[in-house]
Symmetry: C2
């Protein structure tokens, strides 16, 4: 029995917007690949691929990310689905974009990217194929909103970080300066950071204490109606 047999079928792809934060260079980066097939072979592209029969959309996004970076358990969320008729000159392809967040310079989970993949600063991205720039702009704008209202920024930092490093992350995502006193006051007042007994001493003689995000504490607060609020943009 063939149900729905009168309807047209389409290719379905996923494209991954992989943001990586480089705590040393203080830059938000995007993982791009040189496209290895036609159309637009040789151009810059997001990492993507077609959905296989045995995969859900989520599975396909995880596979692409794993193949490209070697990483298994990283933050990966559906962003938006792009379904304009002629978005891909090769054929009609409906593509669901996913957004991944990776802390670069994190020894425990340094991504081992394929040779065709490159990290590029979001401050100077090259032209991308099809509607991939649209996908990046939407994901970045969503990320800018999300880091105000959810503790997703911690996905881009190593396990321990200084308050200055966290502020630099927010400045890199908003691509503008952030007032230090206001930022410290706001993040500390939420009571979701744990101060460690250890200092970061590479960037100043005096040193700066490391902090850790206390996820259990955050989840307990959230259950009691607490809202994460770090609007410093």
């Amino acid at each position: 029995m063939e149900l729905y047999s009168n309807y047209t079928q389409y290719l379905v792809a996923v494209d991954c917007i992989v943001f990586g934060y480089d705590i040393i260079e203080k830059e938000l980066k995007l993982l791009l690949i040189k496209r290895s097939f036609e159309p637009m072979k040789g151009s810059w592209s997001l990492a993507g691929g077609f959905v296989e029969e045995m995969e859900s959309l989520d599975d396909a996004a995880s596979r692409i990310l794993r193949t490209l970076t070697g990483l298994e358990r990283i933050y990966l969320k559906q962003s938006f689905t792009y379904g304009e008729k002629e978005r891909d000159p090769g054929a009609r392809v409906i593509s669901t974009a996913y957004c991944a967040l990776i802390a670069l310079r994190d020894i425990n989970k340094e991504p081992a990217v394929n040779s065709e993949a490159h990290w590029r600063s979001i401050a100077g991205l090259p032209d991308l194929i099809f509607d991939h720039s649209l996908m990046v702009n939407k994901a970045l704008s969503d990320l800018q909103n999300q880091i105000k209202a959810k503790p997703v920024g911690f996905e881009l930092l190593p396990e321990k970080f200084t308050l200055v490093q966290m502020q630099e992350l927010y400045a890199a995502i908003y691509q503008k300066q952030i007032d230090k006193r206001n930022f410290r006051k706001k993040i500390l007042s939420m009571g979701i950071l744990e101060k460690l007994d250890e200092k970061e001493r590479e960037t100043s003689k005096k040193g700066a204490y490391y902090y850790k995000f206390n996820k259990e504490r955050y989840e307990k607060l959230e259950q009691n109606g607490f809202y994460f609020n770090l609007d410093v943009s």
Copy 2:
């Protein structure tokens, strides 16, 4: 030339979560249809359909909504794409859910729904086919978040409304009571409502002034970094 010809194609559908607010019954409602074909013929379903060759995803959602309600220019936004392998027992179908908001009891744009469509209160929804309950829950939870941070609630109200009516809308969406004084203070302090010279006199002898959402003023404020904030949940 057939590019990408080695890859499997799939059916692609859109499903519409159409919320309507009934200002008289003070209830948020959902538009459901009795499914007229197999599988699961006769069960309750969201309004949906397959994407046709000449349509984008957005076009398909607009078409379904127009066919079902006769309405053209209503709030309609992509919600989320559902791509689990066996979500539809009829065939593999990837479905993008859209969320629409309609003010019921609005004389200027009263929806003329098809005979197979029914408005059901979200307080007592029947079982829905496939993953449609998941779709509704996600869209409702997103709406609950959005009405805090964006002026989308006005899409569910007629052009003029009293503060009590607006508060009742928020209570219906959150499905809980809301403190009147706090609500009035917050909404008025934003300065985006325009008080009219006209009173609603049906619900009380004294009457209550009508207000209008001043969209131009809101947009100007937003450009200057103002944030809509009506967190009364």
